[in-house]
Symmetry: D3
Subunit: 236 residues, 6 copies
């Protein structure tokens, strides 16, 4: 579980900053690609609940596609604060979730949906207000391209590995995954990094050159240490 | 010709619902892919008028590209309620229609434009208010990539076969084709399906599980039969 | 340098019209492809300042990636009215510019940014109000995919060759390049072309057929010569 | 286990014929796409042993990538007649198996390798003579793009769902999957279908029209029933 | 009909040379892209017989897909020296022709097959010895992706417009289309161009610089005029 | 310059082994992607001579495309042992080199050609016997898509950064780049690695498990130290 101060910190910083923090820890592959934010005005933070679709095969779909399939079981058991993350192999030729399941997920306290496949009933999902990140709109149900196979396994979504329980963070730029074990420290350091970047932006805004400022050289480092956010240099 | 009650029904339901109705009739390939709605706020319903572009070949363009070419002839003869559907082979490297032809089409009563190529003068088309679905914006005229070849033939647009006279339906999700012969029954059943889904959504909104509800089991089926849309269960 | 009347003319016409003018001069490859306008409501006109990224190679990045690299040097020396144009080989897997550099560029009077790679901190760039055209949003810094190699060379961006000093023009449709030597005449003729197209649109709006009107035949040419924009045919 | 007469039958017919037999049973998605036969001269028949790679994430690779990882465990326990089928998400940027593991697999009696990623040491695999189907050659080890995650799960390879234990059949055309439960009947009917097609080909070779012959009409059906393969019509 | 001296000339020159001759006549789009020669050792020259497939739609396939469909009708009426050219929209997910139809085409004197879709029974087609150019091998029949729609129309194949009756020329490099009206002159000039290039190659082979030689300057032009192919400069 | 013992070592090992050696030194991006070996039977080792093409723009091509352009100048000054490496942005729509320039390059002692664009006259290049790695065959000359812009700059080819003077190594698997400064040590360690892998392969061939062998554990490490290639354990 993400503690509330971590969650709050993660919501206050951008995915760009979080990406930089992960890079400093050697993680280059964290930002999901080829996805669009369905609700650009909303932040999303939550734990990954994973769902895996394979390619459609008619005989297997007949067994596993109908009724309370893997998709419905996972939505029906989503927990507060979880983000449903769907592996759809980047196949945009069918919806991978629609309005009714999104509503159910929202009512159960789900924090959002991430899929590298299509979304069905996109206009309704927008009205629901639930954050979602998706590959494209598509009117068809998932059985056109997918078999809902299993859940709670490591998956690849948007070209990125997501482990169950990882932290998914989204903003208007996109969505990235933070390994669960790193969430707290990444959140803390991201807040510090953004404060530093506000200092830099302030100098740039005043007309300063990037040289020695970004990345920060010694002189600016000293000035930054005495800087307060209200814009006045602190008197030591 | 689509009769007015069919048209009205089609305008009242989503393309997602229509896609499901076509699937029940064995038609999986109906929702056009890789297209963007140019006017997400407007619905579109109309009969397909088809136009086919082939790849550019300079000697053939010299003969068929200029003057009252196939493109202009079809726009100049569009009929009230028709949707112009253009096969551009998914080539986004040129506009396939621009502001003046779109205006002409609109003034003749055309119901919209669908193209899997580029659109030129996209900002002006937005101002005109005519519904359009397109691959991308591109400033170049069609002669950069296409020869306007012929019209009123079966074509492939957005990966989907469109026969002249088929019914094109579009909403903020995208656009799909309904075979002319099926339009009336699909429209009728789609209205019924959406009523059913409103019942389901209402239960989900109240906190019901998906199990036995979506798809509907017997118990809910009975309750649904007595349900009225104002939200109170009818007294029998 | 673009003189002010040319700049004003270029800002008053669409990229679609400019594309047509270039085609008349034998230039087919001018409109950048696969890019999205970051600020659809703003026009952009300025001279190209070019920056070239190559693919990442770790040993070369170690030498050239850090500190005042080619990217920062070019941003730090941007001149009033210049548009930064970045060759990123269409690789969308990393940002090619972020908020701080965009701010610096804006403060130095830069007129916009064009990149066929990713942009980082897209929400902040939107707030800054600087025009930008880009491939996609991505949270990662450029070192994930690129080495900032050199500047002020001919580059390929969005599939189009841009020479340093060429004129970049952007609107809500997209962005195109005008060879510096042609900018003045293209601007002038584009203004004339748009006046002609307003005449044509006015006729179409009244219900005229395209035949003999678009392209203009002799009869309409004569009427056009006596036409004034306020909508009344001039009395000679 | 495939019994020996089924295996023999499967080896005697083409993947094209098998694809037709599956289609008759409602299975359209069986032929793996975007793969190349590494040994066009050799047939391959065997049971699928599945291996799943996810996208690389550096922290997870550190835990699961080295030593006796999922890849090595599955190769080290391959059984006689099994075909190793690897899900690599169509990512061609790294090898998914190399010469030493292919040799180990061959020595254990493995029947072949199918991967929708890269193969490393392709020239050596060719010398080994083991059948393989692959996306491309690539010199890099799998850690450049993949985490070897798990095995013996349903996977998607070449756009097709493969269940553990399904039958993989390959020839110079490519490779397809036959659901285990259908293998015997598909094999039997494929042999019959090919006999029929030899009759048809014989008629075509003599100059017969396709009309009434392919598909076979009644007249040819009767003649076929008396036909023997040595080319002489049988005397009843 | 191509006269025999033109056909002979076309068979003697490369598609690269023919491409250059078409470029001199303003035709840039003639070489079909993304196709592989099925029989690299054989030349192909013949007149285009066109066949058009649209995307699959199940209701339309039911009407037009079976029996003596457009595909079989065109194959059954192929004329000596014709090349069957199939528009399959670059869709590689199904065969567009198989062994029996290829055999029928060959027996009727067809000169070859060109398709930008899949070929089924590729190994058998190779054995038949008929020249073919194709997108990929695929075991499935065409009904998996296509409706055989019509024939003898202008089509786009491999990104190139082919008019019925155009001349198709193929070698181990690939295949290109020559507009029927240009075939004779292109053939004649291609023969002359290749002779010139043999002269140039001879000089390069002796160690000459490219400067003034390729393209030929005046000095070499004079020497070339006296050059005979046996390698000795002619005595005038 | 590569010394002769380094060159000899590089020719004796596979690109797969070299890729592993570079990875150990932190270089992940070295193997060029989406290229095909034109002469699978020949090894290639040489120093990179770079040539850069930009996208075609007609006005710039008019100035720089003809006569002794950048392409011809670099070919005409190639030095013994150099490999020409061409940046063509992965555009396969035109040849980037043809038979006459390849012959010139070969006569000057060039060691090979690498291009991520098309090759023209592929059959003739095959006959010349010069090693080449390329994207596809295409009959058109480069002016259809490219402007030959400049040479001897860092370029991106096959998705990989190549610096002038780097070492290009190719085999039947593909081609990779070795930074000049690392060539000697990479060559030496690659020879050692392959010896070790021959030991491992020998054990696998005898039926050993991979566990503790690949990667080598302590027990095998000791045995390896006493191993001699003739297959008999050495007596110390």
């Amino acid at each position: 579980m993400i503690d509330s101060s971590t969650a709050e910190a993660l919501e206050s910083v951008s995915t760009a900053t979080l990406s930089a923090q992960l890079r400093r820890r050697g993680i280059e592959n964290a930002f999901l690609e080829h996805l669009t934010p369905g609700q650009p005005g909303r932040r999303m933070v939550g734990e990954a609940r994973t769902l895996r679709y394979t390619a459609l095969r008619e005989d297997v779909f007949a067994e596993r596609g109908g009724g309370m399939n893997a998709q419905k079981r996972v939505v029906d058991t989503i927990r507060t604060g979880e983000v449903l993350v769907i592996e759809a192999r980047g196949d945009l030729g069918a919806g991978t979730i629609g309005d009714i399941l999104a509503l159910r997920l929202q009512r159960r306290g789900g924090a959002g949906v991430v899929t590298d496949g299509g979304v069905r009933d996109t206009p309704t999902l927008r009205d629901l207000g639930i954050p979602f990140y998706f590959g494209a709109s598509h009117g068809a149900v998932l059985g056109r391209r997918h078999v809902p196979m299993d859940s709670d396994l490591p998956i690849t979504c948007g070209g990125v590995l997501v482990m169950p329980g990882d932290v998914m963070c989204g903003d208007a730029e996109g969505v990235l995954v933070i390994p669960a074990a790193l969430a707290a420290e990444v959140a803390r350091d991201a807040v510090a990094q953004e404060r530093e970047e506000r200092y830099i932006a302030e100098q740039v805004d005043k007309g300063e050159s990037l040289d020695g400022l970004y990345p920060m050289g010694e002189a600016h480092r000293k000035r930054y240490e005495c800087w307060s956010e209200d814009g006045q240099d602190e008197v030591s």
